[in-house]
């Protein structure tokens, strides 16, 4: 056993082996839980995707041959890209206002961002369901005010899914962009203004480039969340706008085709892994997570 003095300052010559081991002991329960109950199950999915119903890459070949899978993947990609783009524009505006306002106003704005973030995803999808459906509040208002003659179809199509998704993703877009903008030295913009740049030029040439890491981080984060999103697309898409998560659920729980379901899960995992690696090259991942 090492003496208390050794534990204090593990000198390079005598590394505090016992101490390090004891800190690993603190990590162990969580790590063991994660490996046995998280990583193992996920590797099992990957394993199934190349062994069910028979070994080989047959399941993955379906990505190239099955028209319905390709259609579903195209829908997933389209909705994820569009909702990410809309989310980014809106998140940028809110973050910009957050950074450029007084402490008191900022606190209220933040509340408006954080409260929806933590409200149940089912509750939010339900709220949009009540608003958007044919007999819903928005259609009622539009009809009674004479703006439209027949109810608009706002739900069970891509419009509904997009509205619900942007609503869900916005806080995840705002937080990283805001965290990045907060660290931008406002004196850079002031200097540009002082040197005669107009407000627009100072924004375009100084502020916008400086805020890009936050935008890239937010876009990949939101895009990743959108790709695997289940609840909102399932409720507001009504089974007509099928995205990958719901498609997987149907394959497993209704058709019981583990091969196809696990292959799609594997595909999702590979795409997201690739995006994360790309993301890690642009921004500090830990900083991004610290802001959530």
């Amino acid at each position: 056993m090492s003496s208390p003095a050794d534990q204090l300052t593990p000198s390079p010559s005598r590394p505090g082996f016992g101490v390090t081991a004891r800190y690993w002991l603190l990590i162990l329960p969580a790590l063991a839980l994660m490996i046995v109950c998280y990583i193992y199950p996920i590797s099992k999915v990957l394993w199934l995707s190349v062994t069910e119903p028979r070994p080989g890459l047959d399941n993955y070949a379906m990505l190239a041959t099955s028209a319905s899978i390709q259609r579903m993947l195209a829908t997933t990609a389209r909705i994820s890209v569009i909702s990410t783009l809309i989310t980014l524009v809106l998140a940028y505006i809110v973050s910009y206002a957050l950074v450029h306002t007084s402490e008191r106003v900022r606190r209220w704005m933040f509340l408006g961002v954080l409260v929806p973030l933590w409200i149940s995803v089912l509750v939010r999808a339900f709220a949009w369901f009540v608003l958007l459906r044919r007999e819903g509040l928005i259609n009622n208002i539009l009809i009674s005010s004479g703006l439209v003659d027949a109810p608009l179809s706002l739900i069970w199509n891509e419009t509904g899914v997009l509205i619900g998704m942007v609503h869900y993703m916005l806080p995840f877009g705002i937080l990283p962009i805001y965290a990045n903008m907060r660290d931008i030295d406002q004196r850079c913009v002031a200097a540009a203004r002082g040197l005669g740049a107009s407000r627009a030029v100072a924004f375009r040439q100084v502020f916008l480039p400086l805020s890009m890491p936050g935008v890239v981080g937010a876009s990949i984060l939101v895009f990743i969340f959108s790709l695997g999103f289940f609840v909102t697309p399932a409720i507001l898409g009504g089974g007509k706008t099928l995205m990958i998560a719901e498609y997987i659920k149907v394959q497993i729980l209704e058709i019981v085709r583990w091969g196809v379901g696990s292959m799609l899960a594997g595909t999702l995992l590979i795409i997201i892994g690739g995006l994360l690696v790309a993301l890690a090259r642009v921004v500090d991942l830990r900083k991004l997570f610290g802001s959530i």
Binding site: Q7, L8, L26, L33, C37, H100, L253
Partner: protein, 266 residues
């Protein structure tokens, strides 16, 4: 202040109003649930001839809803305890080691946030079938504990980043064991971060649907599961009452979190 007015330029009124409009887009749709929950009609609509509390009464007298609330509560409490204890210890261990290995551990622990829940749901279903844990409390509690840990690790790590490691050194210096140092120095100092972690892990489990869809059945029927069936099958305004109650609970938990953070920064 004259110095800050040169360095600080506010946003234009136009940007500000658009930003507020976006925040209204975030907040207002949720508030509609309260109005609908007070309807006097037998279907989802705004109250017409007066408000009625009948759907709250429905909720409070419905065996089905109350059972689901109980199921969710048991699962959320147990999984939060596991996630908080394991997550907090892990965050402290990683913080103290502060080397490459601990950074990798921390990234691994964040996996459940990045990997879509649907992928995990397939995997845990397979494993739980083998272990006969499908449709059991144990099965759901463990799955929720594992996926709830990242929230604890994030909040506790953030709290530790603002904690002076010399305090720990001092405690060890004065002869305290690692256990005593944890109990009497580190944990009290990062308590607000731990409480945030508890709140977020709890909300995570309380709200989780996808895993439950796969690994639970009639035996363990959580609140999100019943809401899911409610939205898809029998839509009546009781759903709105449930949603309204959930919003109130979440908002109060968030205000507790904000109060704790304010206390910490004082």
């Amino acid at each position: 202040m004259s110095t800050s007015s040169t360095a600080f330029e506010g946003s234009s009124p136009m940007t500000r109003s658009i930003a507020w409009a976006i925040i209204c887009f975030l907040v207002l749709p949720i508030t509609i649930v309260f109005a609908v929950s007070l309807t006097d009609r037998p279907y989802l609509s705004l109250p017409r001839d007066g408000v009625s509390l009948q759907y709250y009464r429905n909720l409070l007298t419905s065996q089905a809803w109350l059972t689901s609330i109980l199921h969710s509560l048991v699962i959320a409490i147990c999984s939060t305890v596991i996630a908080t204890v394991a997550g907090t210890l892990c965050a402290i261990g990683c913080w103290r080691l502060g080397n490459r290995a601990s950074n990798i551990v921390r990234l691994v622990m964040l996996m459940p946030i990045m990997v879509p829940t649907i992928v995990y749901a397939l995997g845990i279903y397979q494993v739980w079938v083998d272990l006969r844990l499908i449709d059991t409390y144990t099965g759901v509690i463990i799955a929720h504990a594992v996926t709830g840990m990242p929230y604890v690790i994030i909040t506790v790590s953030t709290a530790l980043a603002g904690f002076d490691p010399r305090l720990e050194q001092a405690a060890l210096n004065l002869g305290a064991s690692i256990g005593q140092t944890l109990r009497m120095v580190i944990i009290p100092n990062i308590l607000p971060g731990i409480i945030s972690g508890v709140i977020f892990a709890f909300i995570h489990s309380w709200d989780e649907l996808v895993i439950v869809l796969f690994i639970a059945g009639r035996g363990v029927f959580t609140l999100p599961r019943r809401m899911w069936d409610g939205i898809n099958e029998q839509l009546d305004p009781t759903m709105a009452a449930v949603a309204a109650v959930l919003i109130l609970i979440t908002v109060s938990l968030l205000f507790i979190d904000i109060a704790v953070r304010a206390y910490r920064s004082r």
